[in-house]
Symmetry: C2
Subunit: 355 residues, 2 copies
């Protein structure tokens, strides 16, 4: 990759109060851009003042959704360092998504280094306060103007940064989940294992229905048989059944979460048996009836761990662990956030220090 060019903003923004951050509502002073054009490849990496994009109305992203994105967080450690959590995994997944969407591959190392430089420049934007962080959103959009349905020849890669508040302002607590029996997020052979906008567009409707019924997220079943558990909202999902932890296998229609991978490693390091396999909702319900469904929780960058206290599937209502956060969920949350925020040792070398 060429040398990164930097144009500094001459008018810095006022930073929002750390107790008013929310998620993805405020953006920092600068962003990272890089262009792709056929023949030239990826070129002109640059940090510029955060500002509007100018695109032709026929830019392909508006019509055929050729887009991929990532999401990760930068944390400030008690020692004043700035750290990322396994960013190499995010950039690897970005390229995996690119592959599915016919978007040209990026140089992962060079992009990580460019992101590093952006974060160094914006380090004052990493909010103080327990659980706050700087959310990093890399994304690539097809910018070529034209209405033919095919892979574009021109793309823009962007990285924008947003200071975000703690997911749990009052401590980790369980959510209510609705097992979606009508809408489908993704199917084998589709784009489910890519992080691409269309997957999320497809889920908005189901999320609205679930919220209307008093649930905070939907649990997605597989698109083929409507039987097997896939994900929960924008999280992977784990269950503790009779002492064993089970999670849906990466079957091609679910996203390979980085928190998921980390949870599996961590549980195994504790000597817990973890199995990745197909899990039917029926099996889960039976386990629940027999009193063997001991815990359920989602995993993702936003919440890290999201305990599930209640699940509704068709006529069946399941309270899990008395509606309380389970022991594994609590311990995983404490350990993972501890590592992420630099408060604990890093036995798996997951931290990347931004220098």
């Amino acid at each position: 990759m060429e040398q990164l060019q930097m144009t500094r903003s001459t008018q810095l923004k006022t930073k929002p109060a750390t107790d008013q951050l929310g998620f993805g509502r405020h953006f920092t002073d600068h962003m990272l851009l890089m262009d792709y054009s056929k023949g030239q490849g990826w070129h002109a990496p640059r940090i510029v003042p955060y500002g509007p994009l100018t695109l032709d109305p026929s830019a392909m992203v508006f019509h055929y959704g050729q887009e991929v994105f990532e999401g990760m967080k930068a944390y400030r450690t008690p020692q004043g360092e700035v750290v990322l959590f396994r960013p190499d995994m995010n950039l690897k997944r970005l390229n995996h998504s690119c592959e599915r969407l016919s978007i040209p591959q990026v140089d992962e190392k060079a992009l990580l280094d460019a992101i590093r430089q952006l974060i160094v420049l914006e380090k004052d934007w990493i909010p103080e306060g327990e659980g706050n962080s700087l959310y990093i959103r890399p994304f690539i959009i097809a910018t070529e103007p034209g209405l033919g349905v095919r892979a574009a020849h021109d793309y823009l890669l962007l990285v924008i940064l947003s200071p975000v508040g703690a997911y749990y302002s009052e401590g980790i607590h369980p959510v209510r989940i609705y097992v979606e029996d009508q809408y489908v997020r993704a199917v084998r052979g589709g784009t489910g294992e890519a992080k691409t906008s269309g997957n999320y567009a497809s889920g908005i409707k189901a999320q609205e229905v679930a919220e209307g019924l008093g649930f905070s997220q939907v649990l997605w079943l597989d698109g083929v048989e409507h039987k097997y558990i896939e994900e929960v909202g924008s999280m992977n999902v784990f269950f503790k059944v009779n002492g064993e932890v089970i999670t849906p296998a990466l079957n091609g229609s679910i996203l390979a979460g980085i928190t998921r991978d980390s949870v599996i490693h961590m549980l195994k390091s504790w000597g817990v048996k973890v199995t990745e396999r197909r899990i039917s909702v029926e099996e889960l319900y039976t386990a629940w009836q027999e009193g063997k469904l001991e815990e359920a929780f989602g995993t993702g960058t936003a919440a890290v761990i999201s305990p599930i206290g209640f699940m509704k599937w068709e006529g069946h209502e399941m309270e899990i662990n008395g509606g309380e956060t389970g022991d594994y969920a609590k311990k995983l949350y404490d350990q993972l956030t501890g590592i992420q925020r630099g408060e604990l040792d890093d036995p798996f070398s997951w931290r990347y220090v931004v220098r």
Copy 2:
């Protein structure tokens, strides 16, 4: 809807030569815009000079793909009138797509009238020449800045116009189709029956693979069993088997094509038996082996009718009708394009005259 505001371009573009049009590569001097914001609803319809959009990099369309679109054509009749083909159906489908994507409904009548005014203004852009037309692309994008995954509160509706060349520069001719056995376009419960960008993003990869193997389009099988025929590229598909015409039923994962609907009406008016039902590729192959697969063709706004001369499914290669355009395909093409271009009577009242 409020009164349409009009700002005329002061610098009109040079129009492209009518033999160099291609598809969706040139755009006219003006476009139609309309805003939506929560509380205010759809407002400020306006015709303005065609030009770039300015959007925040966090605009939701770039991240979560909340988008819908439509496609139709304006033709110039031998009498010098400008006509659209069943535009009410397109706007109805637009609202149907909006519903699935949690985008607020538009006033179909008012929008059609605004499109009418845009076309009147741009009528000199409707290209002369057999088979040429003015392609009309209405679309709606979520413009609200922010990274929370939910329906946006702000949207922009646009209508852009592109003079397009004849689909068949050398007369209607058959294409080679590859039956896709790995990738899936859509699944029951997904967004397949909506015209939304994510569906097309998902198909680009398969299209590339098929082209690499020497085919011009893919035939999509259902996402559940990979057995039943859904669509061909961006077209609906029909087969003539033993004198009867069959086409996949609208099962929720295929787009309800307006050409499809018109073909069904027209065939029935000729006394042909048309059945909408589930069709397995196996059944089709058996019919082919028995010499009963007499015709196959796709239907869509772009090509109107696209005869299929050859189909490959797993190891099986099927030449259909000796690789030639079938009688129904030819007659439907002639009749439909004749009605669309105002060269024939309009027995079904499908033409909408732009005045």
